[in-house]
């Protein structure tokens, strides 16, 4: 059977790796049971719904695990419960791409809150006054790039946007402006909170939720050995300010931050970071779990349906083994599953997808892991593959988690307790460097016996 070009376009598009599913999308698959009962509605959501006071929570997970999809679900769920939710995904309009700092986040949040809540005119003057003061102080410090006359006050967030832009474009004055914004952060937050209060009218601040997505997009950097990372500078050193908004806030953070010694030391400030784990398709002992496998197949099947392809999942693959291996090699990572499917489809002229097409897809994705691992990291990876755990607070493991070479899984044990464990990405096992290190390790182990 020769399929039409339109058939292929629909099917191919169904596996696009760059579209978080909107809330209530039929392609969404409930994976709670294979993510160790991690459910954003029961975790972050319930915390917000039950709390008497406003909360500040951090949400982490591997890149491409489905965080944005889950946050959109949470937004929808909270809105149904009557909360007002301001969701924004920070981009390069908000953050300085090379070195984001706290002040960038503050200004971005302020801008988003103001424009989402629509300013009552009475409050505009206060933001204006704050910016005026900032500019006066900056002028005294020799920063003349921002001038009062040029600022337009069309909307109250415009001048804040101008400050952000200047931080980004004026590298030489960047630090001076940031320090000044930080110095005046408290008063900006005060004005903002007052503004929130009047914008909400009769409603309580606990009925407003701000979700800041994409903060895990900031590239982690260290200014030197044993220094705090830029993330720690933001989330640890500025925790007071980050928690000072008079509304519930959720910030996304990279998974590596969940294992930061500096952050875990602050548990009385933030609740433990909520982590979205991988879909568990193997036990720590390495046996395939049918439930996990079934979920991964369900994810693919839903997309076949979405494409109205009329093709049954099992019939789309030459062998059942090819489909199983494709799922297994994703490591339970949703975007990797999409990557593998997309590659298998582009290697295929006509369905069914051949074993060789799947093998090529796996090899291609494996190669991307080869590109991000350094020669000195193999031994650490072998250790994780055997111990199924990472050493907490170790920068090397944190960095490997960040690069998804190590994945995090979670299950509920017989006693009902959540167990977190780690493993190397299944694609890493096929890399020569890993095989050699494993071989060395095993020979070393047998010699010592």
């Amino acid at each position: 059977m020769t399929a039409s070009p339109d058939f292929w376009k629909k099917l191919y598009t169904a596996f696009d790796p760059f579209r978080p599913l909107p809330a209530n999308d039929p392609a969404w698959v409930d994976c709670t049971s294979v993510r160790g009962e991690e459910d954003i509605l029961a975790g972050l959501g319930l915390e917000i719904a039950r709390s008497e006071k406003v909360t500040c929570q951090l949400y982490a997970g591997h890149r491409g695990a489905g965080k944005s999809t889950e946050l959109l679900r949470l937004q929808d769920d909270l809105q149904r419960q009557g909360f007002q939710v301001v969701y924004f995904a920070a981009d390069d309009g908000d953050l300085e791409p090379e070195n984001t700092e706290y002040s960038d986040i503050l200004l971005a949040c302020a801008r988003q809150l103001i424009s989402a809540l629509r300013s009552p005119a009475s409050q505009d003057g206060k933001f204006r006054a704050w910016v005026d003061r900032l500019l006066r102080d900056l002028r005294d410090l020799g920063v003349t790039e921002l001038s009062l006359d040029e600022l337009s006050y069309e909307t109250p967030e415009t001048p804040l946007g101008k400050v952000s832009t200047t931080i980004k474009t004026n590298v030489s004055k960047q630090q001076v402006i940031r320090r000044q914004v930080e110095q005046q952060a408290e008063s900006l937050i005060d004005i903002l909170n007052e503004f929130i209060g009047s914008a909400l009218g009769d409603r309580q601040p606990q009925e407003l939720v701000l979700i800041v997505d994409n903060l895990d997009r900031i590239i982690e950097r260290y200014d030197g050995e044993n220094q705090q990372s830029n993330y720690e500078q933001i989330f640890v050193n500025h925790s007071d300010q980050l928690r000072a908004f008079n509304c519930h806030v959720i910030y996304t953070v990279p998974i590596s931050l969940a294992y930061s010694v500096h952050l875990t030391a602050m548990e009385e400030r933030y609740k433990p970071v909520e982590v979205l784990p991988m879909i568990m398709l193997k036990t720590p002992q390495g046996e395939i779990t049918e439930t996990g496998m079934a979920k991964l197949k369900e994810l693919i099947r839903q997309r076949f349906r979405f494409a109205q392809s009329g093709v049954e999942l099992e019939a789309a693959f030459e062998t059942a083994e090819a489909l199983n291996k494709l799922c297994e090699m994703s490591g339970g990572h949703v975007r990797n599953l999409m990557n593998l499917m997309k590659a298998a489809l582009q290697n295929t002229r006509e369905l069914p997808i051949s074993t060789r097409s799947v093998q090529r897809a796996i090899s291609e994705l494996r190669d991307t892991y080869r590109k991000v691992i350094d020669g000195h990291e193999w031994d650490a990876l072998v250790r994780v593959s055997q111990e199924k755990l990472i050493t907490e607070n170790d920068d090397q493991f944190r960095s490997l988690l960040f690069r998804r070479c190590i994945l995090e899984y979670r299950y509920i044990d017989a006693e009902g307790a959540a167990q977190v464990w780690h493993d190397v990405h299944p694609l890493v096992r096929g890399l020569d460097g890993f095989k050699r290190a494993l071989d060395r390790h095993e020979r070393g182990a047998s010699r010592s016996e």
Binding site: P17, R63, R217, I219, Q346, D367, K371, G375
Partner: protein, 390 residues
């Protein structure tokens, strides 16, 4: 263990170029709206590939965006958004992104660049990582990035979120012969590097970096490329980085005496005399008749001797001066007309108190270079000290 007839899923299958090409064609054909593709190939093959794709997919409007220099603001989005016939584009091929990547790659692990340096992110990649939603929402066409192996690796590490949104990655790996030819083209002359601008030098370093990491690269060529890179960095005055490059070269090819010698020179330029001397010694251990290394070793030893003298450490100073003298003697034994060595030998002898021999050495220098006035002058001084004026 994999039983016969079973598939080893941990083993790689390599697609041949025809298969990769067909997959790329199908991807472009089947895409609707935005998508990102990364195509690894050498610059010389890009035009052919575009032509072939256009011939095979005539209904798609294809355009090229060739970045010929660094994007100073790092904003690729802006460059794409302002393309003249933006509205017609179905496929946009982008090449030259490497020009905006940091050329100062520190030597890393296993002979590879240390891309994962945690202290810097090239601006263009920082932007891309944060811009991906805007790319998706505003560019309803295929973006195909042409990159070297090095460029893809760089993006995978430093713009991981952007890279993660790719719909496909296609590799057209050049064969042994092509890699050999492209490598040859990057061998140059130090004298010429000196006449280049900083930008020219950095561009060449990026080209070297790109070919250095090709799959079909041979260790010998790799060592040569590291050596070239070291020379360009030396010409640029970046001695630290040059030393690291020479070290990569000798790590691959331990008997690379030119690399040891040039490493010595770079160390010497930084004032690290002892290390420079050790490096020259490596060079002459491999090639005992390398008179330049003997000579430069002598110069470095003499300089050490003089500074010890200035610190009042007479005994240590004399030892260094004697070693230096021996080194000059090795140089002139190999190359008797090396007047600089004769001259410096004279200086060393004179410092050690051997005036007669010093005079003879200056005379040798003058014989090979009659206008060497310093030698005439020093010779006169020696006579003066011996009270032999007139």
């Amino acid at each position: 263990m994999v039983a016969p007839g079973e598939i080893d899923w941990d083993a790689d299958v390599v697609a041949d170029p025809a298969e990769s090409y067909q997959s790329l064609v199908r991807s472009l054909q089947r895409t609707e709206g935005f998508s990102l593709f990364f195509v690894r190939c050498v610059p010389g093959d890009q035009a052919d590939l575009v032509q072939r794709l256009q011939a095979d997919l005539p209904t798609l409007h294809m355009q090229r965006l060739e970045l010929t220099e660094e994007l100073v603001d790092g904003n690729l989005y802006q460059r794409v958004a302002t393309l003249p016939d933006f509205a017609q584009i179905n496929v946009l091929f982008i090449s030259g992104l490497e020009k905006s990547l940091d050329p100062y790659i520190k030597s890393g692990y296993g002979g590879q660049g240390d891309y994962y340096r945690l202290d810097t992110v090239p601006r263009v990649l920082g932007h891309l990582n944060l811009q991906r939603e805007r790319f998706r929402d505003d560019f309803p066409f295929c973006l195909v990035f042409f990159l070297s192996a090095f460029g893809i690796k760089y993006i995978a590490r430093q713009a991981p979120d952007f890279f993660d949104w790719r719909s496909g990655i296609f590799e057209f790996i050049p064969d042994l012969e092509t890699v050999g030819k492209l490598t040859q083209e990057l061998y140059g002359e130090y004298q010429e590097y000196l006449t280049w601008s900083h930008t020219q030098r950095m561009d060449r370093i990026r080209e070297i970096q790109a070919i250095l990491e090709e799959d079909q690269q041979t260790p010998n060529q790799q060592a040569n490329l590291w050596f070239e890179k070291g020379n360009i960095l030396t010409a640029d005055g970046n001695y630290e980085a040059a030393i690291a490059s020479y070290e990569q070269a000798v790590a691959i090819k331990p008997d690379y005496h030119d690399a040891w010698y040039n490493r010595g020179n770079a160390l010497d330029d930084l004032g690290r005399k002892e290390e420079a001397i050790a490096s020259y010694e490596q060079a002459v251990a491999i090639k005992p008749d390398k008179h330049e290394a003997w000579y430069n070793r002598g110069v470095a030893l003499s300089a050490l001797g003089r500074s010890l003298q200035a610190q009042g450490q007479q005994e240590a100073a004399l030892a260094k001066l004697s070693e230096g003298l021996a080194s000059y003697e090795q140089a002139v034994a190999i190359k008797p007309d090396l007047h600089e060595a004769w001259y410096n030998r004279g200086v060393a002898l004179s410092a050690l108190g051997h005036k007669e021999e010093a005079i003879a050495s200056y005379e040798q220098a003058i014989e090979f270079k009659p206008d060497k006035h310093e030698a005439w002058y020093n010779k006169a001084c020696c006579y003066g000290l011996q009270q032999n004026i007139g």
